[in-house]
Subunit: 358 residues, 4 copies
């Protein structure tokens, strides 16, 4: 802050002052301002890719070696961002994990403040019971377990099943806002219906049960691939016919939403599916907030900041805050994406910039 060297007596007084800061529980701003308040976001998290081909065998080995049950609760392995060493966080706000449930296994009931979803890249045979409502998990489906809903999983088949979990664990942890409760040891239900009660009540386009009030999180327990696929297909067809609908040329996208409010399916987590035509390339976008993407089908190159990742089915990658991201599709490619954007929108902190960073 000054170019003038302090003389010796001044330096001594300064040293004493800094010692007294420490003793008094004070830390001066002027030595840290740039770190505390950088010119633009300077995330510790880094762009990173986790390969499905690498994760899947490890998950399977866990299935053989690690039991699932009360205490640990879930056989879930969290993606740890290399920029956040030692922390099981894909980004500073988002938890992403691969979960593995062996044949006939059960993961016990609990609930927590943290909001959660499951997304299934492959497989089926598990039902997640959400407040006693049995929700089938199948390829391409998004399943919700909103804040404070009891949930448990059961595999009713002789084959294991794997999926990804997304939660706001880091956010809730940083805010010291988490509550957790164990549920009953017995399964709430052993039913295995094709459609959950949540879907039967809420899964009709634009139709609300008159008897049900608004809810902060979506009451639609599951978003099925058949609908997601149809919606993306329609957008690209409309584009071909010359009509609006896609995000940009060759780039379709839907957001999973809460039918009682039209807002995000979960209060704190945005969930979306994108489809790119083969050869399409998205405009670079940088946003405040972080995201995790997973390839559902197809091949692409994702450029995140100064890194380029060749990605294919199941691969996951993290996008830190204010880091530009572009996807270039090799084949037609479907990508599941989740982010913390609703948090920034709610707090007046959202910022987005499109186009090549200057």
């Amino acid at each position: 802050m000054t170019d003038i060297l302090p003389d010796q007596s001044e330096q001594k007084r300064l040293d004493e002052l800094y010692a007294d800061f420490a003793e008094a529980g004070l830390i001066p701003l002027w030595t840290q301002r740039d770190d505390l308040m950088p010119m633009t976001p300077r995330p510790a998290a880094v762009p990173h890719v986790w390969r499905w081909a690498r994760l899947l065998p490890i998950a399977e080995r866990s299935g053989q070696l690690v039991p699932v049950g009360r205490g640990g609760e879930r056989r879930a392995m969290a993606l740890s961002n290399p920029g956040l060493p030692g922390l099981p966080y894909a980004t500073p706000t988002l938890w992403a994990a691969i979960q593995y449930l062996g044949p006939r296994e059960v993961a016990p009931s609990h609930r927590h403040s943290q909001g959660a979803f499951r997304f299934v890249v492959d497989g089926e045979g598990v039902w997640t019971n959400v407040d006693g409502d049995a929700v089938a998990m199948r390829r391409g489906d998004l399943l919700l377990t909103p804040s404070w809903a009891f949930h448990e999983h059961q595999n009713v088949t002789d084959r294991p099943m794997t999926w990804i979990d997304g939660l706001d664990i880091p956010l809730v942890s940083g805010l010291d806002a988490g509550f957790f409760e164990f549920g009953p040891d017995e399964l709430s239900t052993r039913e295995t219906p094709g459609r959950s009660r949540g879907e039967r009540l809420w899964g009709h386009p634009g139709l609300r049960p008159i008897s049900r009030p608004d809810q902060p999180n979506s009451p639609l327990a599951a978003y099925r691939w058949v609908h997601t696929d149809a919606a993306l297909t329609a957008q690209l067809e409309l584009e071909s016919e010359g009509f609006a609908g896609v995000i940009e040329p060759g780039h379709a996208g839907i957001r999973f939403s809460n039918p009682t409010t039209g807002r995000d399916a979960l209060v704190t987590i945005r969930t979306e599916m994108r489809r790119l035509r083969a050869g399409a390339r998205t405009t670079p976008v940088r946003s405040v907030g972080s995201a995790v993407w997973q390839v559902f089908e197809g091949e692409a190159v994702a450029t995140v900041g100064d890194k380029a990742f060749e990605i294919s089915k199941g691969d996951l990658f993290a996008v830190p805050s204010w880091c530009p991201v572009t996807i270039a599709a090799g084949s037609q490619v479907d990508l599941f994406r989740f982010s913390d954007e609703p948090v920034y929108e709610a707090l007046g902190l959202a910022r987005t910039s499109r186009g090549e960073p200057q």
Copy 2:
């Protein structure tokens, strides 16, 4: 206000005063208070039923005798509430009409501030083009033409088609809020797709196109019977299984909603479909605001205030403000209902009372 008879000179002064009121453009409150501000709503509109069997032949005769075209714009015959003589209003806020479009006929393009919907009890073959989007009209469907959207109808078949129109004409007229504009004389499109673009973009449960912002009226151009029927069926099945969902025992109901907000499909008009099991009877409800019901299928007795109407397919009846209504289902019965309740909710004037009026 006083029992004491005024003496002659006072009476003379009073007479002069009242004459001066008139001359000055004043009207005293004290002679009108009870009419202006009754203890409870005292609607001029009355409970009334219009028989489909009576309306349909008249609509057909109009089709033979009255051309449809620019100026009159629509071959629509409005239900006129007997309590509102000379006014083409089903209730003080709602317009309900039967519209008839002959074989190969076209109703020309226009737009207006008034929000509108169509509901089809029977028939098909007409497409309504809403801002250039061709929307098929079929039995059981609800079709929207929101405020200020250009719309036109064309019958592409050799058979006539009939449906009901619902609008907020009386409300908008009472508020002096209406604008109207003629569209081009040529049809915007002659396409006859099975699904409109609005449905292709928005008709997926819980899925929003990322590219589209919130809108005050629903962008989902059509609510198809197949979905409505499925939603009602599911509610009754859930009830049989012991789960929540119905409005009350034996009484299922869905509200047509705007997927961008979760609110009513139209800003000023609530639209709903109810299904009663055979033998079910709804709790009497009285609400501020008025409604029109139409039987879609089945037979029932509707008790509206002190009148009981035996109703069957196509019959329409009006429920004035604060008038209790109960439906007793003979067979299983499906009823379409529209009302002005969103207006009262927006203005802090909503009130509802359930159970037998005391």
Copy 3:
């Protein structure tokens, strides 16, 4: 709709058809479309001025001849718009009346769905008790009696007092939404504090009592002239200093607002005070919805549609929907204005156009 004259037999069938329409309770749209749905709002209400110099003596004569008490409830004389003959309505949605309370008189307690305010051009000495909270009424003050709050007035002086009442009576009447209840015959309080409890709790800029929740209508019982005057003065001073704040050059304005939401003080009625510098002239504005203005102080020419009114203290004038209005200030002029704009905003029907109508 057709230039071809029907032949005799067709004419006969048409006559029969129209007769059957009437008998069946139907009214065809095509004969009325232009009246029902005009190209732009075609209000029956007309621009009109009521002169304070004419109203005041009539109010005084009423004070001598007409008692105030239970049944008639208030000695209020409503401004009747000449375009709405026989109706005590200043506009299709707004009631405006001059109320007169004689020395030591009391107007008894009641409550109603209709929202109300009082505005005082001159005088003092009356307290209006709102749910038992005694609110002094003084020159320049706006006093609220929101929907369903019990209220009563008492004059504690030996002089009469006059003020204007504004209510949404026509709106609530047209919507059949009004409830009314008589209160106790005894005054709820005889206190005459300088500040009401509502003001003591809420009358601090930007400060909310932590213990109080949001309310649809403002809990601030009174908006005092001293604050209104200061706010208007500040806007004009800021303008002189080169800073933003005024509506347009020479034209300051404040809106009375609900401190729990920042919205209008009353759900259905907008209330504002405007101040124009001597010589200033407002841009013509036409809005959907209607308004009533009253001169609080000063002289101006108000041009409403094609009528020009020279107005001075106490004069009231009505502005129908979509009718352009301009004020040209002779002296510095203060104008109180109330309108139904919140209704249109809530219902998606608001439209405003600035500048000379084309």
Copy 4:
């Protein structure tokens, strides 16, 4: 998760698995679940008090030894919670600092995403220019510098001045959402008005300038002690008279609010002033989220979790998440309080419990 000891070969495979987790960038949930998702919030931050008598002399010494200027920007010393060692954070979301500006000193212009306020326990003579609007800082005042507003401070007197700064630096840092920009080196204004333009426009109870739209943060630049004091005084007087208003017996409180929305003055920070009668004791309250309190005047004992602090003028203390807090007033005591509660409310994570924890 299991009581059965793995045999040697299993242990080896487990070791390999854990090694592969690390190599693959995975961290298992089951070893960390309890830390990641505790049963109730388990904040690292601890209850802590900082003594004004200790802070003030250190601030003064900084004034002699440390220049203020571009780069360090402010002579602000942050309260560092002992539970968050090395971090300049009073709580996990809130920054609180004592700032010192020497005679005739200037702190240069900058702006940032972080929202900020100043609260003055003692002194005057500094103006903070917020987007060019000079805002006097005086004892008892709360001054806002909302997100992205340029601000700079100048001391126009020959005496130093000290105050506290509150910001959401930790929150914004944890979310990687911060942008920062240096302003011009020259002061935007050297004016020293008694009232800022923000106050002149917005500082009138319940009155909004018609020309100004809603804003996420309050446009009222300053909340003056004279109003805060009057509001608290009124609440206690109303209590004495038997009327509602206080939070609980002997405990008055106001929230600084945004007049355009009625919500918190800053999007992310709640700011309040409490007054307790001598002898009053607040009900223990535990809330999700953290807070910092400062005694403005008087003496009390604050019990935070299991610690009891005797506090007097200027003392600050931190309340971690879900930690019960009670204040017992020795004398009449005024306390300024700020917290992150709006964040939790916006994210659906708010929880509060009143009464003795069970």
